[in-house]
Amino acid sequence: MIEDIDIAVCIAEIAIIGVLLVRLVRGPSVTDRIVALNVMSTQAAIATMFFAAFADRPIYLDPAIWLSSFSYLGALVWARLLERGLL
């Protein structure tokens, strides 16, 4: 039962990534796209964690840390580029 919930949440999160791809395509400015990308990577991190719970392997959990943090670092880099020219 718990496994079913885990994989269902995982699939739902990937579907949300698909929804956000539309915004990434259409976003008129860089900022729209980067917001969509941030949320996508957060959803991917949560999907990874729930898949780890589904497969019963705790070693799958570690990529979620990097997924949840490094996309925001990319957002900071982009914001810096927008604010002051070339970094």
Binding site: A55, D56, R57, I59, Y60
Partner: protein, 122 residues
């Protein structure tokens, strides 16, 4: 079933190849090369997968198995995953070199259109 992964890897490779062949923007050409690299990773990892397999890591095996049982059990192919790791490192290295070359070319020719760069043309 896993053949869908192979075909998707082939499709992404073809998309990258199409970009490299038809685009004139140098950055887009490098982006196409990155896509081709990504398809290679996908193909290697899909080749490593076996039906119902788990990661080839003996740490904290899934319930019902011990470490030695898992070593002889149903796992993915670790050698192909090693190839994929090597490919990722080489991919980021050559992307860095390509981008530096593109920056220098753009600064020299004041254009990133591949058709404008004609000094080496015969």
């Amino acid at each position: 079933m896993i053949v869908a992964n192979y075909l998707v890897a082939g499709a992404v490779l073809c998309l990258g190849l199409f970009t490299v062949l038809t685009q004139r923007n140098l950055i887009k050409i490098v982006l196409g090369l990155s896509l081709m690299e990504s398809s290679t990773y996908l193909l290697l990892v899909s080749l490593a997968y076996r039906h119902g397999s788990t990661a080839p890591v003996l740490l904290s095996p899934p319930k019902g198995e011990g470490q030695t049982a898992l070593a002889h059990g149903n796992v993915a192919d670790p050698v192909l995953q090693n190839f994929c790791l090597t490919a990722i490192v080489i991919g980021v290295a050559i992307t860095a070199v390509f981008l530096t070359v593109v920056v220098r070319l753009a600064q020299h020719y004041r254009s990133i259109d591949a058709d404008d760069i004609r000094d080496l043309r015969g």
